[in-house]
Subunit: 377 residues, 2 copies
């Protein structure tokens, strides 16, 4: 009978258990053996469980693993594997069931994304992590919608307001933070944990209180795969959306300082490219630019920002910070280094931050935490 | 090569396409044929697609279907089915792949839940639905955290503030809205769409501007399956959490009116039981109580609220509204009717609202929309 039940009804009939039905009624809707997953042990090993009685092969795919890890099934069709000890961090993972990638049904912490479905596992260290909820004053993440004239539709937006903003009156600097391809406006919140990282850094007096704006970076264009110039054309749409729609909305409804030296823009992956493009395209509006695991091609820079390259002294005077972070194992590492060398050649001042690891949200959070301690100082 | 890729990396390497790699680099990481799902057609039929080359059997489970609907595979291993025309509404659905229930990887609109993974499909009618984003002033959904002394941990909370609240100074009535078993604090937002429903009702002058508080209803208790008295004991924990932790937090940080006649509490499923229990337990704090697809057993009411039953005149004087909604096909219908009859017998005044349909979020939204037009009037 359970096999016929679809998962949606589980919530409903589980409700009956809490509403307190008579034993007879309970007997009519037996509860399936529930699997808890993931289970993080004290020694930082992690057990993953999935109930899939009909599966032939179940694997764990996680960003702390080199390759996929096979799970083994018990007689109830519950597949399990224990891995680690795992280096403390917040990791995306998913199961691969007979080749199909699925989120962990036992885990409510999902990776917001347009396409793939993954879950999140937090492996804490001896000290509380910077992205964890600590006993400090907390800000708010405000979900709102705005009308985009550029795209002709209503679009979602998330705005972080720092501790005290709710009760206060003063204005804050504003940081526009863009996520990557197939990510949504929620990804820097649910995976990037920008709110808890900032709550903690502000409490430690390592970052200044600021408003952070998370746009939905996908401009609904871009198949077939674009050339670098086509990609830049997509960046132009983001540039328009941000400067004509998002920034006016934010400045009309939130207490932010309308001053280039109090505006930053950065992003991860495609969001990094969009931030570099929009930042250099609007040096009159942004004094702080961050690129997390991203780059622009010399081809694009020459086409769009020749004047910035032609007068590096003037450009460097405008830029309070141009920050470029990338991991040595990032599949974009070569292009990121090429962009870095290009900027050196053009004498455009910037900070380079090279880490271990690849094109991951662990690195994205790392670069965010580093730069949050630099912006607006 | 694609088969080896885990889904998490897809976002990253798709990023490369937008960052504009050379054609040679693109050739090294070919993009899998992307499936779009769901596709809602003008005639309100809906096509669902899932890429699962190794699956033996794929079914669609959706709350607009009587039973599961089989999908058929093409030569690329993309499974599809077109169903309907479907009655306009916002529906949860999932795929069942060889017996495993999974969310639709092609759809970013997920059903927030502790246990099951489902997706949401919106089938619009000729007129914009009440839960849709319309061109009206919009409120905000504010994600925050608070310290729970009752449970000894930090807990999440979402607060809806109505249009104008952000810029205004005045105080609002406050409505505590609780979701069901295995739901999270996000479910009334992402599935219930309370924010857009209220934005629209306020614009139509059918509801008064109010603050809505979405607690996380799971008190982390409740296995093994409780008896009705054990369930009530869980309700007591929720009662303490709400009155000792959540309400003080809300009244300290949001501009809400501290007056029983300006406080409402309601919920769906287990949340309805928690709301009935907490409401009757605190008639000095709440004048408006709503039960959406829920009930209390006479056994529980007699044990905890004998005094309310003993003096119905005094109870009715305190209750501005006791509202009970349930669907005829709800698996709790019998218990809900028993509670309704019990209240009639006790001469406790209430409004009964019986609809078609079952224990679904389509009904939960319907009951919410009905009662939002009654509260605080």
């Amino acid at each position: 009978m359970i096999a016929e039940k679809n998962s949606i009804t589980l919530g409903a009939f589980a409700a009956s258990l809490c509403l307190g039905l008579a034993a007879s009624a309970r007997a009519q809707s037996p509860r399936p053996p529930q699997t808890h997953s993931p289970i993080v042990h004290a020694n930082r090993t992690v057990t993953f469980n999935l109930r899939a009685p009909n599966a032939k092969k179940v694997e764990l795919s996680a960003q702390f693993l080199k390759g996929n890890q096979p799970l083994t099934a018990d007689t109830n069709g519950v597949w399990s594997v224990t891995v680690g000890p795992v280096e403390p961090n917040l990791y995306p993972y998913n199961f691969v069931v007979d080749g199909l990638s699925v989120a962990d049904p036992g885990n409510q912490h999902l990776f917001p994304n347009e396409r793939f479905k993954a879950s999140l596992v937090d492996v804490p260290g001896d000290q509380p992590s910077l992205y964890s909820v600590q006993e400090v004053p907390h800000g708010e993440m405000r979900y709102c919608v705005y009308q985009s004239k550029t795209l002709g539709r209503v679009r979602p937006l998330i705005v972080y307001t720092p501790p005290g903003y709710r009760e206060g009156k003063g204005k804050c600097p504003v940081f526009y933070l863009v996520s990557g391809t197939t990510d949504t406006e929620e990804t820097w919140f649910k995976v990037g944990r920008v709110n808890f990282i900032l709550d903690n850094l502000i409490a430690q007096k390592k970052a200044v209180p600021m408003v952070v704006v998370l746009p939905y970076g996908n401009m609904m264009m871009g198949t077939p795969p674009p050339t670098s110039i086509q990609a830049a054309d997509m960046y132009k749409v983001f540039n328009d959306e941000l400067t004509r729609d998002i920034m006016p909305f934010v400045e009309a409804h939130y207490r932010v300082i309308s001053d280039r030296e109090k505006r930053a823009i950065a992003g991860f992956s495609r969001g990094g490219g969009q931030s570099l493009f929009t930042g250099f395209n609007n040096l009159d509006k942004f004094a702080w630019i961050g690129s997390y695991s991203a780059y622009l091609t010399p081809e694009v820079f020459d086409k769009y920002f020749a004047s910035a390259a032609a007068d590096p002294k003037a450009t460097n005077k405008k830029l309070k910070l141009l920050w470029l972070g990338v991991g040595k194992a990032d599949f974009l590492y070569k292009q990121a280094v090429e962009f870095d060398d290009y900027l050196k050649g053009k004498k455009i001042a910037h900070q380079s931050f090279v880490t271990e690891g690849g094109h991951t949200w662990m690195n994205a959070r790392h670069y965010l935490a580093e730069t949050l301690q630099l912006y607006f100082k």
